[in-house]
Amino acid sequence: MEIRPIISALLRNRTGAILVALQIAITLAVVTNALFIINQRLEKIGRPSGMDTDNILWVQSYGYRPDYNHRVTIDEDLALIRATPGVVAASAIRGIPLSGGGSSTSYKVSPEKSSPDVPGNYYEGDEQALDALGVKLVAGRRFSKDIIRYEDKPSSKMVPEIIVTRDMAKALFNTDEVVGKQVYDNLGQSATVVGVIDRMLGAWVDWDKLSQVVFHPLVESGPFVRYAVRAQPGRRDALIAELEKKLTESNPTRVISWVRPHDYYIERSYKPDRRMAVLLTVAIGLLVTMTTLGIVGLASFTVNARVKQIGTRRAVGARKVDILRYFMVENWILTTAGLAAGCILAYVLSYWLSTAYSLPMLKLSYLLIAVPCMWILGQLAVLVPARRGAAVAPAVATRTV
């Protein structure tokens, strides 16, 4: 092969080569790390919520007139909602999962103060809470209607029964066979676990204990109340308009602040992650384009500068394909040098990112995929100018001598 002369030619005209190699190095480092972050964000956004979020809508009502009656309003509203065609289930639940707002508290497996605290994201709802959210019960039973506690004012009294997610069960007892076991709040009051949910995500998408969720059979005191309504597939949007109208007309002592699809909150919560993914994708696109242009630019320049040399080589017997190969190999050497530097740079960048985000380091597989892609990209970029070089006629060599 003709590698030695190519290298010595490159070394003679170092600057341009170094510039392009540097571009390739930076591009590789940024692209691999950006892809790594994008992937993590997409995984986070795409993880299953455990709920039937596509078909859930939320209603917020706020009683403000002196004659507002919280309990009566809730009973009437739920009766109205549940009787509306297209509604699968409805429940009064204050917190909206995946909305960024909610409540958490700590639970214990023993009333002792020394017993470790297990944080749980709790939701208070009535007997239809599980069905309204569409979560899957895998053991035990739902709350029965008669144990739901309707509060007149906030209180610290523990509820008699709770339902937990599998992850919560494991965090508490290291097993998901927990039906019948006692759980304690931090005042030492106990509740019996009556059911286990397969999976459900709580309020805060950035919380690592997001899947530790607990249900309490309770409806909070007013004047705020929120209803989770699960619609039959395809009926949600029509129900939003219908319920807003019906509920507003049914009771003038309160206002319906809004009726919204659950998606509204999920989208809002994941917006920073989606934004990061989009912006990084744009950055990748821009970087790759810019570097490709750089490769094309440098190759065009070297072809132009070597027209006479190419002519001479052609005149003494080099075929077009030899010329083409010369430029391709030259580019390959350049790209490889850049990629070698890029691999180091990628890990430097990854180290910085991993301390900033407290995340694991870049996986090697990203480099193993990106490096061949960059090789191919480099070869494609150099193809056009190289072909122009190959087209130089041998006669050029003689013309200006």
Binding site: A29, L280, F301, A356
Partner: protein, 440 residues
């Protein structure tokens, strides 16, 4: 002479339009991207109260759980908010020049006029003591806030934001009119001019890009009407809370507190007041953690709250790496371009042009590219900011084009253009004319 350089420069740039466009495009794109991220970064990290940074302080006391600190990753950090009782103690101190204790509450806001067409809506109110407006330099369009007496008597008075005034009264001077919060009437004392500090330094608990509240009412109304918090409430202590009164006496933190201390002596005095207060409370069995009171200037407060999301720093870093790639590209293109000019430069040199002259000539040319790239970058940056609106919840706040950042971008572009051009320019000055003239 500069005019001559300029003319030659423009001529040279026109000779090779594709190359020129590529160079300007590369710098422009790099600058545009940097401008966008810098703009967002400077907005989210900016200090809206920079002018009063030396006198306004956020107050923290650490009465949190003895077993585990407020933030287990930052053991020296005290909770961002105070308990109701401790906030009261801050408010009762007469050391500060101004003092504010405050929190949020939600109400149905509507017109008191039955015939009004304005539909009642849920509005978040700030329940605050009266110094809020002067301490935070809140601009009034009409009227003013309430006074100490109004606060003491928990009077039903209100200050409307510009937006709330628009919604209820359709704008205009509504001082003296009445509005309804839930079923109670409030007299309008003032209407704010547009005010949307980013980040929302005075209460960062529900997000630094959160909008300011719709209306402002006396803090003492909250206790009188038992208004529950619409902000963050955090509790650690196992204690029975079965009434609003018990909640007020609990160890839950939910009140924001700020003081204005105009002299270092006052800062010291207020610090020792806080220390004394906590020591006294410790005797009563409260504040189980080591003494950890803190006063933070607004700038320190923003850092303490980690207002700048890591994503923003990462994007800023990446955009500067992109700018570096663009510049490397430009250097390469310039080298290519200037190498084509060797013959002309040799001729100039042979005809008596000094190296210095050639250097200046080419520096003018690359500066032109830098300036053009910078202008293009500002335009691109503006478009990118518009595109960003799709990606933010509170886009308006984050995507305002900050002109100082724009000017900075232009400066960076010029410097970048010159830096990129320096090496190629230097190379072309060093040309020995003889060999090139020979081949002509």
């Amino acid at each position: 002479m500069f005019g001559y350089h300029l003319r030659l420069g423009l001529k040279s740039l026109r000779r090779n339009p594709v190359l020129t466009a590529l160079m300007i495009g590369a710098i422009g794109l790099g600058i545009g991207v940097c401008l966008t991220t810098l703009n967002v970064y400077s907005l989210v990290s900016g200090n809206p109260l920079a002018a009063r940074d030396d006198v306004v302080y956020a107050v923290q006391m650490d009465g949190w759980d003895p077993n585990e600190g407020w933030d287990k990753d930052r053991p020296t950090l005290a909770p961002y908010e105070l308990t109701f009782r401790d906030a009261q103690a801050v408010f009762e101190s007469d050391i500060p020049d101004r003092k504010v204790i405050m929190r949020k509450g939600a109400f149905v806001l509507g017109s008191a006029d039955e015939k009004s067409e304005a539909k009642p809506y849920i509005a978040v109110a700030r329940l605050t003591t009266p110094d809020f407006f002067s301490m935070f330099a809140v601009p009034f369009k009409y009227g003013a806030g309430w006074d100490a007496e109004g606060e003491r008597n928990a009077e039903p008075v209100i200050v409307l934001s510009e937006e709330a005034n628009q919604k209820i009264f359709g704008g205009g001077n509504s001082v003296g009119k009445t509005v309804k919060l839930d079923d109670k009437e409030y007299k309008v004392l003032g209407v704010l001019a547009y005010w949307n500090p980013v980040p929302k330094f005075y209460d960062l608990n529900n997000g630094s890009l959160d909008d300011p509240e719709a209306v402002f009412i006396p803090y003492s109304r909250g206790e009188l009407l038992e208004v529950v918090s619409a902000g963050n409430t955090n509790c650690w202590k196992p204690e029975t809370i079965d009434s609003f009164r018990e909640f007020l006496n609990s160890e839950c933190v939910w009140i924001q507190s700020w003081v204005e201390l105009r002299t270092p002596a006052k800062v010291e005095a207020f610090k020792s007041f806080l220390d004394g207060y906590v020591a006294e409370q410790k005797k009563l069995g409260r504040f189980p953690r080591p003494l950890n009171n803190k006063l933070s200037k607004v700038s320190e407060w923003l850092q303490l709250n980690q207002v700048v999301e890591k994503d923003n720093s990462v994007l800023l870093g990446i955009s500067f790496m992109f700018l570096a790639v663009c510049l490397l590209n430009t250097v390469g293109l310039l080298l290519a371009k200037f190498s084509g000019k060797v013959a002309v430069v040799s001729l100039h040199r042979a005809l008596g042009a000094s190296r210095k002259l050639i250097f200046r000539q080419h520096l003018v040319e690359v500066s032109l590219i830098g300036v053009a790239g910078g202008l293009l970058g500002i335009g691109l940056g503006y478009l990118l900011l518009l595109a960003l609106r799709q990606l933010y919840n509170s886009y308006e706040a984050v995507t305002r084009l900050d002109w100082s950042v724009g000017l900075m971008a232009l400066g960076i572009a010029l410097i970048a253009g010159i830096l990129a051009g320096l090496y190629p320019t230097w190379r072309i000055c060093r040309v020995e004319p003889a060999p090139y003239l020979k081949t002509q």
